[in-house]
């Protein structure tokens, strides 16, 4: 802080401070010695996977702490048939397809939005969701389809866009909703039981919205502690320490390390805004994890005429498309394998030519392994 004013630097520099990381490493080593069994901790969110690999946190922790990478990468869990939807929509002559940056290079079954754009499909990568409004106003003769993707973090932005569009009478925006929920796949993984997870690092930004209370079921139903962690290396280290202390003191609770942004109740205003426009789907197909009941959102029926899935229902196929036979993204997303267990990792499957979804996004486990430690 300079002159008492908060600067951008204050938001990250201390949370990457090497001296703090070294001190935490020592504390973690001390606690880890007391563990009765190895701690298998799943970081649910791809942002954490990225932090762990980028800062090499897995390299500096004791051997009896193992990270199991979770399914929290919105691009990674999107089934191919839904990515095909985006490509088909983008190719409609009267459509402008707008979506958040990363989606552009994700391969569907045959193509990607980047390739479609090169073939003159109208695709706009967004930095801010609200830019959709501007695009729609500037192109009143076009149908602007917002391909909405992301966990609970990005969902309020879609709802806010809808609210603004309706308030301002903008009628040429359509929504293809792919917002998925974090708790249902966590339950699915614990019900599967194969990954033998005995601790969780809870997502940062998702928890800002849904609140730490959303993870109580892990304590109650599965007797597994959760610490909601920030995205910086010091955050992850401190959260590991908090989990170790819970284990060694025979406690099992939902705790918040990321106190600077997360509360137990979450962002109630955002939750209400989402409820105004969206509701839970009966079921949603996750890439790698299969059908999970009540694990994603859709537009409420009263907004039917703006629901791209309904408006273009005739041209959007819904048959499941399997991943490449050699790809083990499914196992990785369930926490049953690590990227370097895959035969094609780093050879036939690379970030420039991904066979599976975990290689595509920066937050995918395979991409993080490839970039930082293959």
């Amino acid at each position: 802080m300079e002159n008492g004013e908060l600067t951008l630097k204050d938001l990250y520099s201390k949370f990457r401070d090497p001296e703090t990381i070294k001190a935490l490493t020592k504390e973690i080593e001390k606690e880890a010695l007391k563990l009765k069994e190895p701690m298998k901790v799943m970081e649910i969110c791809g942002g954490h996977t990225h932090t762990i690999m980028k800062y090499g946190i897995n390299q500096i922790l004791p051997d009896n702490i193992e990270f199991i990478h979770g399914p929290g990468c919105p691009v990674c869990v999107m089934p191919k048939e839904r990515i095909d939807h985006a490509i088909i929509l983008a190719k409609q002559p009267d459509v402008i397809l707008a979506t958040l940056g990363d989606m552009i290079r994700v391969p569907g079954s045959k193509s990607s939005l980047a390739k479609a754009r090169a073939e003159e499909a109208n695709v706009v990568p967004l930095h801010s969701t609200l830019d959709v409004l501007k695009i729609a106003k500037e192109n009143p003769d076009k149908k602007v389809v917002f391909f909405a993707i992301g966990f609970e973090t990005t969902t309020p932005m879609t709802a806010a866009l809808m609210k603004r569009a309706f308030n301002e009478g903008v009628k040429n925006i359509y929504y293809h909703i792919n917002h998925v929920l974090v708790p249902p796949p966590m339950r699915a993984i614990m019900d599967g039981g194969e990954a033998k997870i005995n601790a969780f690092i809870g997502p940062s930004h998702v928890s800002v919205i849904i609140g730490a209370k959303a993870y109580e079921f892990l304590v109650k139903d599965y007797n597994t502690p959760v610490v909601v962690a920030g995205f910086e290396p010091v955050d992850v280290m401190e959260s590991i320490l908090m989990l170790l202390k819970q284990k060694n003191q025979n406690r099992c609770k939902v705790e918040i390390q990321y106190k600077r942004a997360t509360t137990y109740e979450g962002n109630v205003v955002a939750q209400k805004l989402i409820e105004e426009f969206m509701e839970v789907r009966d079921t949603f197909r996750w890439r790698g994890l299969g059908d999970i009941p009540k694990s994603a959102l859709k537009l409420k029926d009263k907004f039917l005429e703006f629901d791209a899935e309904k408006v273009w229902a005739d041209i959007l196929p819904n048959e499941p498309i399997d991943d490449h036979k050699l790809c083990i993204c499914g196992e990785i997303l369930k926490g049953l394998a690590k990227p370097n267990d895959c035969k094609v990792f780093g050879s036939a499957c690379t970030p420039s030519n991904p066979l599976g979804s975990c290689m595509v996004s920066d937050e995918g486990a395979c991409n993080a392994y490839y970039r930082y430690s293959r």
Partner: protein, 328 residues
């Protein structure tokens, strides 16, 4: 000049073209060879000569710390300088979209003239085309250049284990300026766009044994180090805390999820020198920019490795694909 906009007539080869060439280009680039206005420039070259070409297109054409004109001279002169050559003769071609403000072209030309003086180089031939609106974006510039080699055997293939890696200043500025503009963020960051001849000359004069030298343009520091590791068949190990990055660039990268090491520079170069001359080279570069820093060294092996001060390591890969902001 009366006209406010460049029209197709300026590229027609007639009166307007002549006026443009004489009153704007000759006036600003004036030298004996150019004003002869022959079909080709006649130049004398002695000994080993470096020759390079580059085309420049940038949106916006005027940015914090430079413009497309400055860029077109710095780009080509720096490529020559990086081979140990002193830039001497340059060619320049303009592809102009009709409708460009004459005032803008004038500003660009004046900026070119200013950079030429810094590089002590001359434009000896050129060409101008004006194309219909939409055929190019405002203005594209191509420059080619030749320069006599002052220091031989600078090559990406020369690096041996033990050689030190030095960066001439803080990284990622030019890329940050362009990305901030593209994504609509106001920033005070200035591009590093600059002719590097003086820095290189100082190193050569001091007798520094330069093994390899490259300006970290597109792909940034990551690209240069990866290219060197592959070409010289070595690993390059760098220390995270030694890499100079300004708070502004770090902040912008935080917002968008970019890596400063992947961002383009236009006046920043990387140097590989033998261990014994490394300190001296760093001192010389610090006189030009205090952020110059020895960031690591070549070792046996492959790939580029980043070491943290708390004991972890990670690979630094070639940046891939188009730079897109992350989803969340």
């Amino acid at each position: 000049m009366e006209n406010k906009k460049i029209t197709l007539a300026y590229g027609g080869g007639g009166e307007e073209t002549n006026k443009l060439i004489k009153e704007l280009f000759y006036e600003n680039f004036k030298n004996d060879i150019l004003i002869k206005a022959e079909d080709a420039a006649v130049i004398n070259l002695n000994g080993k000569t470096a020759f390079t070409t580059d085309s420049f297109t940038i949106d916006p054409i005027f940015f914090n710390g430079g413009d497309i004109g400055k860029l077109s001279i710095a780009g080509t002169c720096n490529d020559l300088a990086m081979m140990g050559a002193k830039p001497e003769y340059l060619s320049i071609s303009f592809m102009i979209e009709e409708g460009l403000d004459f005032e803008d072209l004038e500003k660009i030309v004046k900026s070119i003239s200013k950079e030429l003086k810094k590089a002590d180089a001359r434009i000896v031939c050129g060409d101008t085309k004006v194309v219909p609106a939409g055929s190019v974006d405002k203005i594209f510039i191509n420059t080619s250049g030749v320069g006599s080699i002052k220091k031989e055997n600078i090559s990406a293939h020369n690096i041996k284990p033990g050689d030190k890696i030095i960066v001439s200043r803080d990284i990622g500025r030019h890329g940050s300026v362009v990305l901030a503009k593209r994504f609509g963020v106001d920033t005070d960051i200035e591009s590093d766009c600059k002719v590097l001849c003086e820095e290189v000359n100082a190193l050569i004069e001091a007798g520094i044994d330069i093994k390899a030298m490259r300006d970290a343009t597109r792909g940034g520091l990551s690209a240069v180090l990866n290219e060197w590791a592959e070409a010289s068949n070595v690993a390059i190990e760098i220390e995270e805390e030694k890499i100079p990055i300004s708070d502004e660039v770090k902040g912008l990268c935080e917002i968008f999820g970019f890596e400063p090491m992947d961002l383009a520079n236009e006046g920043t170069f990387i140097l590989a020198v033998e261990n014994k001359g490394a300190k001296k080279a760093e001192e010389i570069l610090k006189k030009f920019n205090n952020n110059a820093s020895i960031i690591g060294e070549a070792i046996e092996g492959k790939k580029v490795i980043l070491k943290t001060s708390y004991g972890s390591k990670r690979y630094i890969d070639l940046p891939k694909g188009e730079l897109l902001p992350r989803i969340c």
